[in-house]
Amino acid sequence: TQPRIIIHGGAGNIRPETMPPERYQLFRASLLTIISKSHRFLLNPLPDGSLPTALDSATYAVTLLEDDPLYNAGRGAVFTRDGINELEASIMITNPTRWPKRGVGVSGLRRVKNPIKLAAELLKRGGQDLVGKGVAVEDVEGAEGRLNVPSAQGHTHLHGAAAEQLAEAYGLELVDPSYFWTKDRWEQHRRGLEREKAMAELTCSGLHGCGTPAGTASWSSDEFIPQG
């Protein structure tokens, strides 16, 4: 099969009015750079002569997108109402013979630098030969050498501290939560809460009927607010 790839960096209320030319050029340069690097990764044989798998190539492409603060993922992620970043990721493949789990989701992450790498590791481990065998611990070659860690078994969604504990055991890079902070997203977060407050006051002044804020902290007709 001829290897192919497509990537996205988000969708929503994106219109020429909410995407000025200089911002459009920023996204254009970033997306074309990432798609070119990822296509090259997909086509170039690995040191052992084999061709990269779809799993490794998709993980590589999303890692580049997570590292670019332009996008709502990894560095540059949006904030919750409480001003923290809670990251989510997932991965799934069509071929069930190699990884019977087929798909994995991770959520509630606050310190894993590249959430997609954790999803990929969870798909590769604790899955292919342990599905349904309920093996409690797994021998893992982690950053500190061989470790016995709770096995991810055939689970397809892991959340919060348990997921981060496995990320650490697998030797994935953990960062201080401040790594994800960017000024643009912080200001978007503050503007959203202020918009909601202003809408609520407007609404309760009887202009819209009390208790039904016309705007939300998560969406605006005037700008592109990442919806997730």
Binding site: H8, T18, E86, A89, M92
Partner: protein, 211 residues
């Protein structure tokens, strides 16, 4: 949200998606990106033509009797039947593999299990991946309908998807003889940031429908 869908030289399709979630979401809210079938989906299945049962990815590749001497000319359209010196036409078995990654208002993707719905329309509705994806996330599709009268007021129903469909055709001895893949993409809102490489290796980037 960011995503990538890749088909490799072995015909496996993989979807990877990552996000910070909905701006100003409630802390603890889980969105569609890590929820199987909502923001992402990947599956493959066998399709035997002419009345034989549609297989699923777990059933073995059906080995057809006798070797096919022709190939399906364009495996993205309905394969032609081949008479191989006998009265009854032979059957052609194709393996279809589809993976999609969603982005947009996650709670709407969750309510409609949007990604799985694309796979189901393609497999059970016998539609191409492109038609199935547009039926869910294209203008006026399932996702937009799920917003009801809140469409255009709260961001509900807004979103887009990218994907890849790969079809492999097997000969009478169960050997893969031809494969073709197609890039899938559509959205129902103002724009979707996306980039892809076509079959000639040319890179494209788009935000709107016609930029």
């Amino acid at each position: 949200t960011v995503g990538a869908v890749v088909v490799d030289a072995y015909g496996t399709v993989c979807v990877a998606t990552s996000t910070g979630g909905l701006t100003n979401k409630l802390t603890g809210r889980i969105g569609d990106t890590p929820t199987v079938g909502a923001g992402f989906w990947a599956e493959e299945w066998l399709e035997e033509l002419e009345g034989q049962k549609a297989g699923s990815s777990s059933c073995p590749a059906v080995v057809l009797s006798g070797a096919l001497k022709g190939l399906v000319a364009d495996c993205l359209s309905t394969p032609r039947m081949y008479q191989l010196g006998s009265s009854s036409p032979k059957r052609v078995v194709t393996k279809r593999a589809i993976a999609v990654s969603g982005t947009g208002n996650g709670d709407s993707f969750l309510r409609t299990t949007a990604a799985r719905t694309v796979g189901a329309i393609a497999q059970f509705g016998k539609e191409s991946g492109a038609v199935a994806l547009t039926k869910v996330t294209g203008p006026g599709g399932e996702l937009q309908r799920s917003a009801g009268d809140r469409w255009g007021k709260t961001g509900e129903g807004e979103g887009g998807m990218i994907g890849i469909e790969c079809i492999v055709v097997y000969d009478g001895d169960g050997n893969a003889v031809e494969s073709r893949s197609e890039i899938l993409q559509d959205f129902n809102c103002g724009g979707m940031l996306r980039a892809w490489v076509d079959e000639q290796g040319v890179a494209f980037m788009r935000v709107f429908r016609k930029d």
